[in-house]
Subunit: 157 residues, 3 copies
């Protein structure tokens, strides 16, 4: 079997800025390596499909996040901190030449990564297809299993 | 090989209300599609096997959670907020026709999803088998690998 | 195919004390069962490769964590709480005979688990190879796919 026939299936369930990178970076890398790739967006992961994602990141609850300096948790909960951390991560990514989430997502679409929005979650959170980008499909877990069951790699992110 | 012979292996490691849905929804869907399915409950995931799970959800540390209105992080830490968010999610799920965790779990058991509690974690947290539902097995990581190593899909949730 | 030829691929992305156990426990168990095993450390997971990891755990944002007694979230944010919870988990693990992260990591290396640090993340966070343990490799997502694409189990932790 040639490398080109391999398949990568991703279930993207997180909706924060930091956890938005892994699905799109892994999917675009796999697509560049010739993998047929699908991402099923469900739960909080639906946020990654919004036209204007407006994703945030926080260090709260994540003691593994590298910080420029140690900061007491109680300070991290203060108003403005989440916005500041989000701006810092975006600036950091840009300065290191990492593409933005919108750019990575566009690269995935151009590389024929199939993106499926979980219909049940869309209904659950009363989201509207008009809020999401073009070029995606809608389906349920059963739809995804048809592809995932044949995949070489399946990741729950 | 027929679809009926496919295998899904899940490692369920989270113990909050929101992350309790994916293992049970994916397992019950897979079982309905004819997959032989096992869930290995370890770390915080053991909470999902309690007779009365009493699971909670919080928006703290999860900026990806859809909120009815924006709320400063410091307000989210106030007493009563976690209880309120838990009640809201349960009400939301019910109003949309999503089964409760207890119901989804029962559906999995009726569909012959094999559930294994991680013995090491049970010992670690001094939990008692009497706290858990009937119909589950106990075992270690090695037990799980015997099934996972033969699976078509293996997910760490 | 013999059991000895099976392959386990892990993507370790978390950098807290609690989420440091699963990759090393699963990898060392798999290696003991004869699996060829690789761990790709990326994002916050790079913290697990530091010579002196100094990992922390917190109950904030994780209502699934078993607590000796219920504690309001606002108390959990107070100075000293994260340090106290970290000390408690380490003591608990030790009293139950669970090896420390450093010991589990060493067991993995001795069992020929291949560890790869994500070069992109190393550059992103301005980390230095001198901060990491000996015996690891450096590479990108493409390097990891070469192994993961041939694996029997691939987990995103």
């Amino acid at each position: 079997m040639s490398e080109a026939e391999k398949k990568l299936a991703i279930i993207a369930t997180k909706g924060s800025l930091d956890w938005a990178y892994p699905p799109f970076i892994l999917a675009s890398t796999a697509a560049a390596l010739g993998y047929e790739t699908q991402i099923f967006f469900t739960f909080y992961g639906l946020q990654l499909l919004r036209k204007k994602p407006n994703l945030k990141v926080t260090s709260i609850g994540n003691p593994g996040m590298p910080m420029p300096m140690p900061m007491p948790v109680v300070l991290q909960t203060l108003p403005g901190m989440q916005g500041m951390m989000t701006a810092m991560m975006k600036k950091k990514m840009k300065s290191k030449g990492v593409a933005s989430i919108e750019e990575l997502r566009e690269m995935c679409l151009e590389a024929d990564v199939k993106m499926i929005a979980c219909q049940m979650t869309v209904d659950l959170f009363d989201m509207k297809p008009a809020e999401f980008i073009e070029g995606i499909d809608y389906g349920g877990a059963a739809t995804f299993f048809a592809f995932a069951g044949e995949s070489d790699i399946c990741l729950f992110i």
